[in-house]
């Protein structure tokens, strides 16, 4: 790559005034091919690469160099149909196993339940239902547990000793939180514009936040403890 300077002499006009200038050195062309193959979402043909590169480049030759460079490496330059692509070396496929995931969005019921657990943990099923105003289907919490975002907490020491639910480290990791206590309160959500503001909303009494305090035995537990004083 030490020959990049050569290149620079011709650089100012490279993009536009193409044909006036010499083609970049082969090593530089190899870099280009490498970058293109890496970033492209599809295999690239030599013609496609040539069309993108400065005038006078010979991607076919650069490709041969690159191909040789990657011989025996963890990835290979491979022919795919008419084009070329970078692929994992066949013997290292076992490292990729976890890469295969299909993303699906959580249902509304699930995300609401998850939010309630995050904000009110440890929380019992009855409390979740009370807050949501709908009876939670057993499957919803189960799904969250299966996802590794929710786990059982201690049993609540009230009559019937109901199980409680809490969020997991996996939950915190997924949502980029250090601690569930760092989740913003309703007032902060509103200030951040995250609350759907229906007309009545702006003047709605700030009750809900204070009240979260009540949910916990100790008022200082409130997420927005400041208002309790």
């Amino acid at each position: 790559m030490s020959d990049t300077p050569d290149n620079d002499t011709s650089a100012p006009g490279m993009q536009q005034g193409e044909s006036l200038f010499r083609a970049p050195p082969l090593a530089e062309q190899e870099r280009m091919v490498e970058a293109m193959l890496f970033a492209s979402a599809e295999p690239l043909s030599v013609a496609e690469m040539e069309a993108r590169m400065p005038h006078g480049c010979d991607p076919a030759e650069a490709l041969q160099l690159l191909r040789r460079r990657y011989e025996g490496r963890g990835v290979q330059v491979a022919r795919v149909g008419d084009g070329w692509a970078i692929r994992t070396a066949a013997d290292l496929g076992f490292l990729m196993a976890r890469e295969v995931v299909e993303s699906r969005r959580l249902s509304r019921a699930a995300i609401e339940t998850l939010a309630i657990i995050a904000y009110h943990q440890p929380v019992t099923r009855a409390e979740i239902e009370e807050i949501r105003g709908v009876s939670a289907s057993r499957g919803t919490v189960d799904q969250l547990i299966e996802l590794g975002w929710v786990r059982f907490g201690r049993r609540r020491m009230t009559v019937g000793r109901p199980v409680t639910f809490v969020v997991t480290q996996g939950f915190l990791d997924h949502f980029g939180l250090e601690n569930a206590r760092d989740l913003p309160g309703l007032k902060e959500l509103r200030e951040a514009g995250l609350l759907d503001s229906r007309p009545a909303d702006a003047d709605a009494p700030e009750l809900p936040e204070d009240d979260t305090g009540q949910l916990f035995d100790d008022p200082s537990e409130a997420m927005d403890g400041d208002e309790d004083a």
Partner: protein, 266 residues
């Protein structure tokens, strides 16, 4: 609000024509300013000196003149511009009058210095923002792998939700009630009879002191209204049971938790 007319002596000190021209250019733009600090910073730049050497007094004049002009042109100014004008007018008067001895609050010089600091800090953040945006950015100058490898054997479904989804879901749930039309909800009240009926069979095996609050029925502990009525009903029911000689009550001090226990010698 502000002491309005541009005072004679200072105003002479800077070129009236040039400043007027600058002010006009700014007036046209008034909507483009993001608040008074932004406006002040723009005005400060017209002084063509390092922000550290800025004359706060001159800046104050410039700002007040600008506000005057905007008013003359009947431009609508947001309240915070006027608040700033009032504050600057006050600052100006303090800067012009020799310091009074007794004052407890920050001196005029401190106030001016802090304003200068705020301007410098805002300018610095603007520079940083520009530098940041000028970096080689992902998706524009630098690129990620176009074909992340997904040679699939073990296919797994990954449920995703963003933090925003989560926050919005919570806000939705918690504010649902705010929008409900008002109605008298009888089922929001736990009656003494209900509480008594529930409590009576439970106290029989109550050998240990137990917090009254732990007897609130499921579904009556979260919502504050329900919690309140359930607490009251439970307390009243407990008193009934004490009267009936089945229960002892204990409270260590005012507002401490109330504890219940089976009356052993019954």
């Amino acid at each position: 609000m502000a002491d309005t007319p541009v005072p004679a002596n200072e105003a002479e000190e800077w070129d009236a024509v040039a400043s007027r021209r600058a002010a006009e250019a700014l007036v046209v733009d008034v909507d483009g300013f993001e608040g008074p600090l932004d406006l002040l910073l723009s005005l400060a730049r017209t002084q063509k000196v390092d922000l550290r050497q800025i004359s706060i007094l001159a800046l104050t004049e410039q700002y007040l003149a600008f506000i005057e002009e905007a008013r003359a042109l009947r431009l609508e100014l947001a309240a915070d511009y006027l608040v700033m004008a009032a504050w600057l007018a006050y600052l100006k008067s303090r800067l012009l009058v020799p310091a009074e001895v007794s004052d407890d609050g920050p001196s005029a010089e401190d106030m001016a210095a802090h304003l200068a600091f705020q301007l410098e800090r805002l300018a610095a953040m603007r520079d940083c923002a520009a530098k940041l945006m000028a970096r080689d950015r992902l998706g524009q100058d630098r690129f990620v792998r176009g074909m992340p490898e997904a040679t699939g054997t073990a296919r797994r479904v990954d449920y995703t939700a963003s933090l925003i989804d989560l926050l919005q879901a919570y806000a939705r749930v918690r504010t649902r009630d705010d929008f409900r039309p008002y109605a008298m909800d009888r089922d929001e009240i736990l009656t003494l009879e209900q509480a008594l009926e529930r409590l009576r069979p439970l106290v029989g095996d109550l050998a240990e002191w137990t917090d009254l609050m732990s007897f609130l029925p499921d579904g009556w502990t979260m919502d504050p209204k329900r919690r309140r009525t359930a607490t009251a009903a439970n307390f009243a029911a407990a008193l009934e049971l004490v009267k009936a000689g089945r229960l002892s009550l204990r409270q260590s001090e005012t507002f401490a938790p109330i504890h219940l226990k089976r009356k052993d010698d019954a």
